[in-house]
Amino acid sequence: MNTQLHDADSIPLEAIDVSDPQLYQDDTWYPYFERLRREAPVHWCRESRYGPYWSLSKYKDIMQVEVNHQIYSSELGGIAVEDQPVGLERESFIRMDPPKHDEQRKVVSPIVAPANLAEMEATIRERTIRVLDGLPRNETFDWVERVSIELTTMMLATLFDFPWEERRKLTYWSDVAICNVRDPVAPVHSEQEKFDEVKKMAERMAELYNERAKQPPKFDLLSMLAHGRATQDMPLREFMGNLTLLIVGGNDTTRNSMTGGLYALSQHPREYQKLRDDPALIEKLVPEIIRYVTPVIHMRRTATQDAELGGRQIRAGDKVVMWYVSGNRDPDAIEDPDNFIIDRPRPRQHLSFGFGIHRCVGNRLAELQLRILWEELLPRHPVIEVLAPPRRTYSNFIHGMRSMPVRIPMH
């Protein structure tokens, strides 16, 4: 780890490759981006496992790409620095440009409309209370397993109206979909195996989808897809892609914020105490957690034409990677960005949800779940000891936390 920290400042600028998933598993990415922001905010990496790509590390450059979807396409090459494997591509609306993106997104977005969120709040609260009341005392347990996965899986089952007793399958499919197949602990070890598992997921979902297509429309994602004009006749691959998108989007990111938030507070005991003294700060705590954790490490675009960006010449066809982890730590956009501060004046100004037409559909639902978690956690378990840092996922895309041992002391 120390050699890497040293490397960040001494290796030639052009040799910096922030797409290495090891940097995120080891949590050693910070100095590389510090240097990129300082010396090469729009940086060309000529050689990487994923081919050549541009790295954007400053908030304002990322914003410029976010709002120029005509120039920076999601459809041309997808949304990750790693291309989807040839022949096994799964289309989804996050990987589309207008107009098709717009049509499909609008089918599912009403599920998180304000009125529906208000209706979901009581259910989420009741479940959160049940999970928190069931936690052991004076005993080491895995926060990810007992809290983060449990709560987000229940949420997913509700969003899909998926059979309750089968709900852990949703978590498994989400893990399959986002895993890096080169990770020894990944649930699948080749792209073909991943494709086959995602296909099984689609087949199970198709059974439910077909039932719901015959019933009157109701407010769950499968019913909405089945009745939506833009989504009712999707080819299998597109069905697979869109389901993956909704499962990962509705699960993984919030799961990791539930873990990362507790970890951040444990590393900043003064902030944790501030929160106990004034629980009204939860409203600002939640967006600060989402910024600090940055659950999605990057999004990628592909230039549709030559363009100038931050003084550099982008050519048509170039890969452009927006590193949200770095933009969220950009001191020119966010004051004292490396610190976790739960009473920032403008905590919602962060890149974690993306901006522009692809901005996270479920952002308010994610915030709602986190708010309820902390509202119910503080009075029940004001002290939670984090016994070791989280074990992180080998991925340059999802900022995953696989486990984190904690203990709730006896009162």
Partner: protein
């Protein structure tokens, strides 16, 4: 200085002076008017400063320019209506003095 009336979803009204040239969004944020989040800070990139322009004022504010980034972002906003605008895209002018805008149930 021209004034803008911001009406929250729960009908609470806030009357605020907004300098010429400043956006209607900024007028709310600078005066801590609740109900306008403006997560992107005025880049027309998030649709969390969504307002309904009082129909009597629509002639003066105009609708979003068709095909614009604002129109595109608004098309994804929950509960967009004929009089929806992103308040970061309405710059204050003398003739907008007295403008009334209402906030949606939530900003998405």
């Amino acid at each position: 200085m021209p004034k803008v009336t911001y009406i929250e979803y729960n009908d609470t009204a806030h009357v605020v002076e907004v300098p010429i040239g400043l956006s209607v969004m900024r007028g709310a944020v600078n005066n801590n008017v609740p109900g306008i989040d403006a997560d992107c800070g005025g880049e027309c990139a998030c649709a969390t400063c969504h307002v309904y322009v009082d129909p009597a004022w629509l002639d003066k504010t105009g609708p979003p320019v068709p095909g614009s980034q604002e129109a595109s972002m608004l098309s994804f906003a929950a509960e967009a209506k004929f009089n929806s605008r992103l308040s970061c895209q309405i710059a204050m002018r003398e003739e907008l003095g007295g403008l009334i805008v209402r906030m949606p149930q939530g900003q998405h």
